[in-house]
């Protein structure tokens, strides 16, 4: 093993260096200057993100346990940009609420550890690495969900999250053990060669899928989502709905299309059913929500149902649409959560009724929120429309017209409740509207980056073409 093969883990090594540097700063920085750690963390992570864009070779190390390719590089960079926007949006919350309790460094260390786990999870080449990555991605987030230790909501959400995610990983492990029983190996490549359709392997797949479905919050494994999002700090709810879900979708895609390819006739049916159930349940429950965090939680469940449409098409188009939609979804949801975060930080209000008349007092925030919600709903000039359109194309190209019809019906239902928020902001008049406030520079930059992402990914077609050109690379 030489330096070049180590450098295949450049993302992981870089992030680990950031974490270690933060620990050093935490130890040696004077107590009065603890606030500046937030700036240091953001600068370090920006450098890490920029380094991530440099080209990197493909390859595998540790005997095939760790694999890397162009698609994973692209996706890791997307995750980096998402986390960077999230850090910018949560910097003010950290400065106002967390620094006084002297635990802002832990926030960054836990968040970056979770991201490190996601890196390892999506580049894993066998189920052991996958499991360790999954746990490393989950456990720090559980600590972060329960981060506001003086609030009962936060602690309760933390308990719910850790218990249900432990159940999920236990279930997934039982599934992996059945797959191991049928094939005698835990390596992805070796398993793909010998896996055949049998009752035991189908049972293993079902258990494994239900474990991952917890992470993506697909129906019927979505029960924790709304409660955890409501109780957690807003930046963590955003992290869960955006970064964590995106990484889980990618590894699900890689495992289904490579390792479990022999079981394809079975998992196509499962995905079909789960997709319909997820879209309907997410949308119908989102209709009756008054709290913005719960509302976005159910909307993100419904979006996960849409992502599953891309799994039905086993060709380059299918892979591309999944990745493209996940990238768009990351930016749109970050925009929406960012506005909720800004308003909650300035006024402490989180209900939809409080947003009435927001356009008159805070026009810029309302515009960002409108962009994000229109993109989530799929209104034409914005990125979300193209994402949904390509997903429909992918599913229709395989002849699933009924499913595409159901998805369009659901997109219409979702448009209704997104418009409820927009109507409250733009058309309703309210004497007690949220007064005008000016966000801090970090927050404004975060919202600006999210809005640029929403606009650019949709209109600048080379991004789609680039994803199309690399989307095959995970198959080798």
């Amino acid at each position: 093993m030489n330096l070049e093969s180590f450098l295949l883990m450049r993302y992981e090594i870089g992030l680990l260096a950031v974490i270690l540097l933060l620990i050093v700063f935490e130890i040696f920085l004077n107590k009065k200057h603890k606030g500046s750690l937030i700036d240091i963390a953001i600068v370090l992570f920006t450098i890490h993100t920029i380094i991530g864009f440099l080209p990197l070779a493909d390859g595998s190390i540790f005997g095939g346990m760790f694999k890397t390719n162009a698609l994973l590089h692209f996706f890791k960079s997307t995750l980096n940009v998402g986390v960077l926007i999230l850090l910018l949006q949560s910097a003010d919350w950290l400065k106002e609420k967390v620094v006084q309790q002297n635990k802002s460094t832990e926030f960054f260390i836990l968040l970056f550890s979770s991201l490190l786990g996601m890196y390892y999870m999506i580049s894993s080449g066998d189920f052991l690495m996958f499991y360790i990555g999954l746990e490393l991605a989950t456990l720090p987030v559980a600590a972060l969900v329960a981060y506001e230790t003086f609030k009962q909501d936060s602690a309760e959400a933390g308990v719910k999250f850790i218990l249900s995610s432990a159940l999920a990983s236990g279930t997934a492990l039982l599934g992996v053990s059945f797959l191991y029983a049928t094939t005698g190996t835990i390596y992805f490549d070796a398993m793909a060669e010998v896996l055949t359709m049998s009752n035991l392997s189908i049972l293993g797949f079902i258990f494994f899928f239900s474990g991952l479905a917890f992470k993506i919050s697909l129906v019927p494994f979505h029960f924790w989502t709304a409660d955890v999002y409501e109780g957690a700090p807003i930046s963590i709810a955003s992290f869960l709905s955006v970064i964590s879900k995106g990484a889980a979708v990618i590894i699900l895609m890689i495992i289904l299309f490579t390792v479990m390819k022999p079981l394809m006739p079975v998992w196509i049916k499962v995905i079909y059913m789960v997709s319909i159930a997820t879209m309907f349940l997410g949308n119908i429950f989102a209709l009756r929500q008054k709290n913005m965090k719960r509302f976005l939680a159910y909307s993100s469940i419904a979006q996960a149902g849409f992502i599953l449409l891309g799994f039905l098409s086993n060709d380059q188009l299918g892979y591309t649409t999944i990745i493209y939609f996940v990238a768009i979804y990351i930016f749109s949801n970050l925009g929406a959560f960012g506005v909720v975060q800004a308003i909650s930080l300035a006024t402490g209000k989180e209900n939809m009724d409080d947003y009435e008349g927001l356009y008159r007092t805070n026009p810029k925030l309302s515009l960002v929120m409108m962009l994000a919600l229109f993109s989530l709903a799929g209104i034409p000039p914005l990125a979300g429309f193209f994402g949904k359109f390509f997903l429909y194309t992918a599913a229709a190209s395989q002849g699933y017209y009924l499913l595409v019809f159901i998805a369009v019906v659901n997109a219409t239902i979702s448009l209704y409740y997104y418009l409820l928020v927009i109507r409250a902001m733009f058309l309703r008049k309210n004497e007690n509207a949220i007064p005008f406030f000016k966000s801090q520079p970090y927050m404004r930059l975060g919202l600006l980056l999210a809005s640029i992402g929403i606009l650019v990914i949709g209109m600048y077609s080379p991004i789609y073409e680039y994803i199309y050109s690399i989307s095959n690379s995970f198959l080798n």
Partner: protein, 105 residues
């Protein structure tokens, strides 16, 4: 390999342990016992790995190594869950599910 005991009996045992854990997870009222149920689920998976390794594929140790990692991860998970439950106990002075539940729709 254990004399006189086939793989079917042990796999039946581990399946029973797993579903006892799932049943406990959904019906128990106390958070600590819910956590114990999760331990049962994880241990059933670890047992499965060891048994499949010993009986079916004794040449390589993949399953045994996997089970060691499961035990380590389960310990980390339990430690974190206990920490969060203790924090919840400080706030509401109870670990019963019905007393702690505030977030509902």
């Amino acid at each position: 390999m254990i004399e006189g005991i086939s793989i079917y009996e042990i796999l039946t045992l581990s399946s029973i342990v797993f579903f006892v854990g799932v049943y406990g997870f959904f019906t128990r009222e106390n958070l600590i016992t819910v956590l114990m149920s999760i331990e049962l689920i994880l241990n059933a998976s670890a047992l499965n790995f060891v048994i499949i390794n010993t009986y079916l594929y004794p040449d390589f140790l993949q399953g045994a190594v996997f089970s060691i990692f499961i035990i380590a991860m389960a310990a980390a998970e339990t430690a974190l869950a206990i920490a969060i439950i203790i924090n919840l106990y400080k706030l509401v002075a109870s670990v019963e599910v019905k007393d702690t539940e505030k977030l509902k729709y």
